[in-house]
Amino acid sequence: MDEPEHTDRYWTPEEVRDWEPKAVDEADRLYDVAHARAGDKGDVSNIVLVPFEDEAFEDLVEVVTVERVRDHFDGLVEGEIERYPVPGTNCINLVLRGALDGGVASSLRLDRYGKSLSRHLLAMPLEAADGDGD
């Protein structure tokens, strides 16, 4: 039990070598170029957006504006949205207030902690619906 066998059933070095993110200008949505993690405090969710490639950071700062995020989260977020680009680590931290249906304690959502809000962000198209993405 203490020293189980190593297995490559979950991944192989080849798989890792063969997968690579798309370049921002060839990608359709954030999922193609970044990963993300959501955290919760009260009725506030924060989502950090992490580009797979550091070169994508500046482009993402252009694309992932507070306005775009507000539109994309329409119906899920009631309050203000703040955005903190962090150049040193090339991440963008988004703070979504009123994002958890009143908070974990009393929320009626299936995802009370808002874990999946990070995935909703990744589903955001890189270009705005009106084609005015940049």
């Binding site: 997968w19 993110p21 990963h35 119906g75 962090v86 040193g88 974990v104 299936l110």
Partner: protein, 454 residues
């Protein structure tokens, strides 16, 4: 250099592997925002005011390897009753024949202070279950001193209640390096290290892995993180030799901002930490050096979480599959709504929500999903009610849909016990630091000896 490892209560085999690396300190974070009010509710009903199951499982696994290396264990697992948790730990140590000293930290309970200002805080004193201040390194650093004559011998357990997550890690660093509590840059950097460690597996591939694009080796036996902390302001985050998981810039960048709002002002009882200067450098396979966090003066007030008892939450499911599954699920939801309003005429349903799992149960009106006409879905009914009776009625109305509702309804997969929950609201208020820390006490417990106060 000191080493600090994670002792997550989940998968105790991984915490044992951390201890076999001979770490100086093991932290065990048992808290989430709703942990304390629920623990006080349990205590009030005559049950243990701490998580006895997981404290027992953890310490049974951790005490023997901790004894071999003279490790100090720091934890907030005491929840609503740190003293009882400490006494339980002594029992476990006796059964395991491990030499254990316990230092209990009490005084985070601010119920009286909050009650005195209830009106000002907008707290209903009658419904208040708990009020606990986040206490920091200053309040526990003295407790880390080994009892006289026991230097490096056996296990020392420091157990408290609402010790701030980060402070479980910052306090040993302050203690070992003899820092002053106003060395803000040092405390800010130590808090950045703590931020990376405090959610255990979330630094090593947990809450991260995804088939194909975010590979994590051997996810069935993820290792827990260890920080080798150097006084110079450099820490190396690693995991036990041979364990599964992954530590690199990708896993650590996600965790650096977990539950962070303004990255230049992460508030803890110890410091206003600035995480924007943190830098990662790979120094080996699954080994990353962390440098660069800074800090400013700590907040003058301490954050206090106040738990109050609310009504009830109920959730019930009814799966449908095959042609027109979604249509039948939506119809079933409407029937439940009409039954409650028109037949039972209940008045204490504060909110009722009907969704279809697979379509809009997670993303609500922001969802653009659809399921195939011949899909598999679940009706999900969730409600907040004032009384438990109405919560039970909602559950029964959903469960009984099979014979009286849309065609081919499948049984509700959950029992009523799993489906109804007391709502505990948690709000933050702020108290002056001095008012809280005056009440902090350290108490030593040792098997067979009379407890002595600080």
């Amino acid at each position: 250099m000191i080493s600090i490892g994670s002792g997550s209560r989940y998968r105790p085999d991984a915490g044992r592997a951390v201890l076999r690396e001979g770490v100086d300190y093991l932290f065990m974070d048992f808290m989430s925002e709703s942990t304390l009010p629920r623990a006080y509710l349990k205590k009030r009903r005559g049950r243990p005011g701490f998580d006895e199951k997981w404290l027992t499982r953890s310490l049974e696994a951790f005490l023997p390897p901790a004894e071999r290396h003279g490790t100090t264990i720091v934890t907030n697992a005491g929840a609503a009753d740190p003293r009882a948790a400490g006494e339980r730990a002594l029992e476990i140590a006796r059964e395991a024949d491990v030499s254990l000293d316990v230092t209990v930290v009490t005084g985070d309970d601010c119920t009286d202070l909050v009650r005195a200002r209830a009106e000002e805080f907008g707290v209903d004193p009658g419904a208040m279950l708990s009020a606990n201040a986040y206490i920091g390194a200053e309040e526990i650093v003295g407790a880390l001193e080994r009892p006289p004559g026991r230097d490096g011998d056996g296990v020392h357990l420091v157990v408290g209640g609402r010790i701030a997550d980060h402070s479980l890690i910052v306090a040993p660093i302050v203690h070992e390096f003899g820092w002053d509590l106003d060395q803000w840059d040092e405390l800010g950097w130590a808090t950045a290290v703590a931020q990376l460690l405090e959610c255990d597996y979330q630094a090593t591939g947990g809450y991260f892995m995804e088939p194909g694009r975010k590979p994590v080796p051997d996810p069935h036996r993820l290792g827990l993180p260890i920080a080798d902390v150097h006084e110079s302001g450099r820490a190396v985050i690693r995991k036990p030799e041979g364990s599964g998981g992954r530590i690199d810039r990708a896993t650590l960048r996600e965790q650096l901002f977990y539950e962070i709002h303004d990255p230049s002002a992460k508030l803890t009882p110890d410091v206003t930490a600035d995480l924007t200067g943190v830098r990662f450098e790979a120094v080996g396979e699954d080994e990353v050096a962390v440098t660069g966090g800074t800090g400013r003066e700590r907040p003058s007030d301490l954050k206090v979480l106040v738990g109050t008892a609310g009504g009830f939450r109920v959730e019930a499911r009814k799966p449908y599959a095959g042609p027109n599954a979604e249509g039948r699920a939506r119809m079933a939801g409407e029937i439940v709504r009409d039954r409650l309003e028109l037949v039972h005429e209940v008045e204490d349903v504060e909110e009722l929500r009907t969704n279809v799992v697979g379509v809009d149960a997670v993303f609500g009106s922001a969802s653009t999903l659809s399921v195939p006409f011949d899909g598999e879905v679940e009706l999900r009914v969730a409600a907040r009610t004032t009384t438990e009776e109405t919560a039970e009625l909602v559950f029964d109305e959903v469960s009984s849909l099979a014979p009286v509702g849309p065609a081919a309804g499948i049984g509700n997969p959950y029992s009523m016990n799993d489906s109804i929950e007391r709502i505990v609201d948690v709000d933050a208020v702020y108290l002056p630091r001095e008012a809280v820390v005056d009440a902090i006490e350290h108490t030593s417990l040792r098997a067979g000896a009379t407890p002595e106060g600080r």
